[in-house]
Symmetry: C2
Subunit: 133 residues, 2 copies
């Protein structure tokens, strides 16, 4: 069941993005809608019980990917069991670690990743006792 | 309980944004964290059972709002009982209706709104039988 509120990420390459998110976040592809040219205009993935949607950017529709826009004003926060491991996997798959995963004074272990499509992620989990700050 | 995946919207005026989203989406403010200058660096709202986070943009941290970036590559999809009513309320509160709320061939009644902070929303609900296309 699609949640009441979820982000739909516009990307320059929807197929590569589906591949990346399924591997990086252990997501399941639930829905993939493409037009006659094979352009994905809507895909929905499930991450645990949350929904992540995405689509190929289409300038004429005002659907702009991060490169076209010049960045992103939205941080997608992913609460995961092992943020260090998730971030490492994302980097292995082509993402960039922007801010290291560390224990934070506000009680979370968090860092920031920019995925290969330019989207910004806060990868977040529980504090690691005695872990690297 | 914060969901596994949720968007954190960077905005030029966090207080105004909290006010807008609580009124526009009937959201509840669960958490508001501000620094000594009163700048909100983290707020969490609940929309039904979903989480919406936001913070004041801070250029030095790489936290850029839509105006600074030049737009947004993320569409926040809100599934609501009455999309026409939600969109109208958002517009009344200062948003811009970008694409009208209409029955769509893929089985949803949807349209697009740009909120006063530049964030893009897909307001979505069930088809309205015999309603305006």
């Amino acid at each position: 069941m699609t949640s009441e509120l979820h982000p739909k990420l516009l990307v320059s390459d929807a197929e590569a993005a589906i591949d990346f998110y399924t591997k990086a976040l252990d997501a399941t592809l639930d829905l993939r809608v493409a037009d006659e040219q094979g352009v994905v205009n809507h895909a929905e993935l499930t991450v645990g019980s949350a929904t992540l949607a995405l689509a190929q950017s289409v300038k004429e529709w005002g659907w702009n990917d991060p490169d076209s826009v010049g960045g992103s004003p939205v941080l997608i926060t992913a609460n995961v069991p092992d943020p260090d491991s998730t971030a490492a996997r994302m980097v292995q798959l082509g993402a960039e670690l922007v801010i290291p995963i560390e224990n934070r004074p506000y009680g979370k272990r968090q860092g920031r990743v920019q995925d290969p499509f330019g989207h910004l992620w806060v990868i977040s989990g529980d504090l690691r006792p005695g872990g690297r700050e």
